[in-house]
């Protein structure tokens, strides 16, 4: 059957599934809207968290980024999984025990202050907006690439679907659609991976194929290191970044993961404290399936690419080469006019440009998989982008309707009124996200690092100390959050956007990149919080009781 039909069938079926689930799981109360009624099974919540967490970037771009970075790409693999250990051990069980709806709820109550709550709302909104704009863009790109509609139409269709199930079902609708989306995306990711692993190494498990040898009996990784040396790239299995920078980026991503509000709220939806721990475990297990496969895909496709193109005549290139050249993801300019493709690390002689996304998107074609697998990939990428967008949307709408309206502006608003406000806020957030998806601000790519840095430098220390210390007071926590966020914003604006005099790599403080600076800003937050708290009065008896209470099982 024609590829286009397959794609319409896969996308159409998966979308009707999401809509069906949304109708089945309408939210009737604020508790259902914010935390799905608080009765989600830990395994279902684990799947929902995994889908929530793995965005279009994890699904489409990550394997490609690793494939070009080699060892350098490890920061994403470790950074985006290690945070779940922090969540399971340090945050999730206690926040569940606390038993409210949002992250600003905890900060506001624990630090008995609406100033603290406002700072938390502000951080939650910035983090979520920077993230959601990228997701809507991802939806548009997938639509335009696979369904041959333009990006604007793609974004609008995506908006319509998310709007439908997020506004109708709230967290309840989102949770159960995310479970379905996880199944779609993991199936779509694994089928081509298993196929390619078998093709290249004869081993059906990509994680093992990764360390096996190809048809010529040479270990794949050794071969790739050799190819890299010949072409002038740094060795695949050793990096180009400094050890300190790798350390800081990994730390910032881990701590940022643990501090992201849309991840944390997922743990409010389970029934009891032990379920919060369990669902963190299941979530990481479900995430690990994709995250341990991605580096294997990276190696297969990198080897495949180099062997197919390097020093080969341009006119002998397979069909997929032409196809992806027209999309602009592959580019070839014959600089020395010998008709061969020279692919090297030296930019003056290199003739081939390759976009990282192609490693996942073109994989089924390179491996000559049947059309339905390609269709599946389109549905999977959409599932990844939509599930993350919906989770973020809920954080934005609850920050507005619950934290701002109910807790600060109109404390006497009725349950029904709050539910309406939540739905209006969600609608507004979808429209704004859609606008940014259609007119992407140039900073979207740069701000993903900002989102993690901000989460690491604001929420993480405040929540952690709020649980593990009874002595930390509002003065300490507020000044800590402000110092952390300001420092992070300053560093990002200076080195990513050229404000405050700008600067180049040589000017980085201690050689730490903006992506890794969240670790330093987080340490600053901890230090400031501890010093200020020790010089100001301890929190009242009630607050100390509250802390003692969330520590009990």
């Amino acid at each position: 059957m024609e590829l286009q039909y397959w794609i319409w069938i896969a996308v159409g079926l998966s979308f009707s599934l999401y809509i069906g689930i949304a109708i089945w799981s309408r939210a009737g109360s604020t508790k259902e809207f914010y935390v799905a009624g608080g009765g989600v099974h830990p395994i279902a919540n684990g799947m929902a968290t995994a889908a929530d967490w793995m965005s279009a970037a994890s699904f489409i771009s990550m394997a490609g980024i690793i494939s070009f970075g080699g060892y350098d790409g490890s920061v994403y693999l470790m950074g985006w999984t290690g945070g779940y250990v922090l969540l399971a051990l340090l945050l999730a069980p206690y926040l569940r025990k606390f038993g409210k709806f949002t992250v600003p709820d905890f900060i506001g109550d624990r630090y008995y202050s609406n100033t603290a709550r406002s700072v938390a709302v502000f951080c939650a909104l910035i983090v979520s907006f920077t993230y959601i704009a990228g997701q809507m863009r991802g939806v548009g790109v997938v639509f335009s690439r696979y369904l041959e509609v333009d990006i604007v139409t793609g974004v609008l269709i995506g908006m319509g679907i998310v709007l439908f199930y997020a506004v109708l079902g709230g967290m309840k609708g989102i949770t159960y659609t995310q479970v379905a989306q996880y199944c779609v995306l993991i199936f779509a990711f694994m089928v081509p991976a298993i196929y390619i692993s078998f093709l290249v190494t004869g081993n059906v498990i990509p994680q093992l194929g990764f360390g096996s040898s190809g048809a010529d009996g040479v270990y794949l990784l050794d071969k790739l290191d050799g190819l890299h040396r010949e072409l002038g790239f740094h060795e695949y299995t050793s990096g180009s970044k400094s050890m300190l920078d790798v350390f800081c980026i990994t730390m910032a991503l881990m701590v940022g993961t643990a501090g992201l509000p849309h991840v944390i709220v997922r743990f409010f939806t389970v029934k009891k404290v032990s379920d919060a721990r369990k669902s963190a475990g299941w979530a990481l297990l479900f995430i690990a399936i994709l995250y341990t496969t991605a580096p294997a895909i990276a190696v297969f496709s990198r080897t495949n690419l180099i062997e197919t193109v390097s020093n080969q005549p341009y006119k002998d290139m397979p069909e997929w080469f032409d196809k992806w050249e027209t999309t602009g993801l592959l580019g070839f300019t014959d600089k020395n006019e010998d008709g061969l493709i020279q692919y090297t690390a030296d930019t003056t002689t290199n003739e081939l440009t390759v976009d990282a996304d192609i490693m996942v998107l073109a994989n089924p074609e390179i491996a000559q998989l049947p059309n339905w697998v390609i269709a599946l990939l389109a549905a999977g990428a959409l599932a990844a982008a939509l599930s993350t967008a919906a989770g973020l949307l809920l954080v934005i709408s609850s920050a507005v309707s619950h934290d701002l309206l109910k807790k600060m502006v109109m404390p006497r608003i009725s349950e029904k009124g709050e539910l309406i406000a939540a739905r209006i806020a969600a609608t507004g957030a979808v429209c704004l996200a859609g606008y940014f998806g259609i007119n992407p601000p140039g900073f979207v790519a740069a701000t993903v690092a900002l989102a993690f840095g901000l989460a690491a430098s604001s929420f993480f220390p405040a929540i952690l100390l709020g649980i593990f210390s009874k002595r930390i007071n509002k003065e300490g926590a507020i000044s800590g959050m402000l110092v952390g966020v300001t420092l992070m914003l300053f560093y990002m604006l200076k080195f990513k956007f050229g404000w405050f005099g700008g600067g180049t790599k040589a000017d980085w403080w201690f050689g730490i990149s903006p992506e890794g600076f969240g670790s330093i800003a987080m340490i600053a937050n901890f230090v400031v919080t501890l010093i200020i708290s020790s010089g100001t009065p301890a929190p009242s008896k009630d607050i100390q009781e509250l802390v003692a209470n969330i520590r009990k099982p």
């Binding site: 690793i66 060892y71 790409g73 490890s74 693999l77 470790m78 999984t81 290690g82 779940y84 250990v85 922090l86 399971a88 051990l89 340090l90 069980p93 994680q207 990764f210 360390g211 096996s212 040898s213 270990y219 794949l220 990784l221 050794d222 299995t237 050793s238 050890m243 790798v246 350390f247 990994t250 730390m251 881990m254 032990s274 721990r277 369990k278 963190a280 475990g281 990481l284 297990l285 690990a288 995250y291 341990t292 580096p295 520590r551 009990k552 099982p553």
Partner: protein, 78 residues
């Protein structure tokens, strides 16, 4: 009694977080070059920890904690 529950919890957390640090920051970053001199199958060990081993480690750490805490919770309820 409540106090010992919390102290035991803190002890589990410290041990497991040290493991968390060792499998990722230790084996995957700080000692990656030393470990890369050891090769198991097609993997250099340090590289394997950075791209596979650390993630398997994280999963094992969380499930260990779930197991330990469930047991601790049970002794509390008696």
């Amino acid at each position: 009694m409540k106090n010992t529950y919390w102290q035991k919890n803190i002890r589990y957390i410290s041990i497991l977080l040290s493991l968390w640090f060792i499998v990722s920051f230790g084996c995957g970053i700080l000692f990656v070059e030393q470990l890369n001199t050891i090769q198991i199958g097609g993997f250099k060990l340090g590289f394997w920890f950075a791209q596979q081993g650390s993630i398997f480690g994280f999963v094992a750490i969380i499930f260990t904690y779930i197991y330990l805490m469930n047991k601790l919770d049970q002794t509390q309820n008696k």
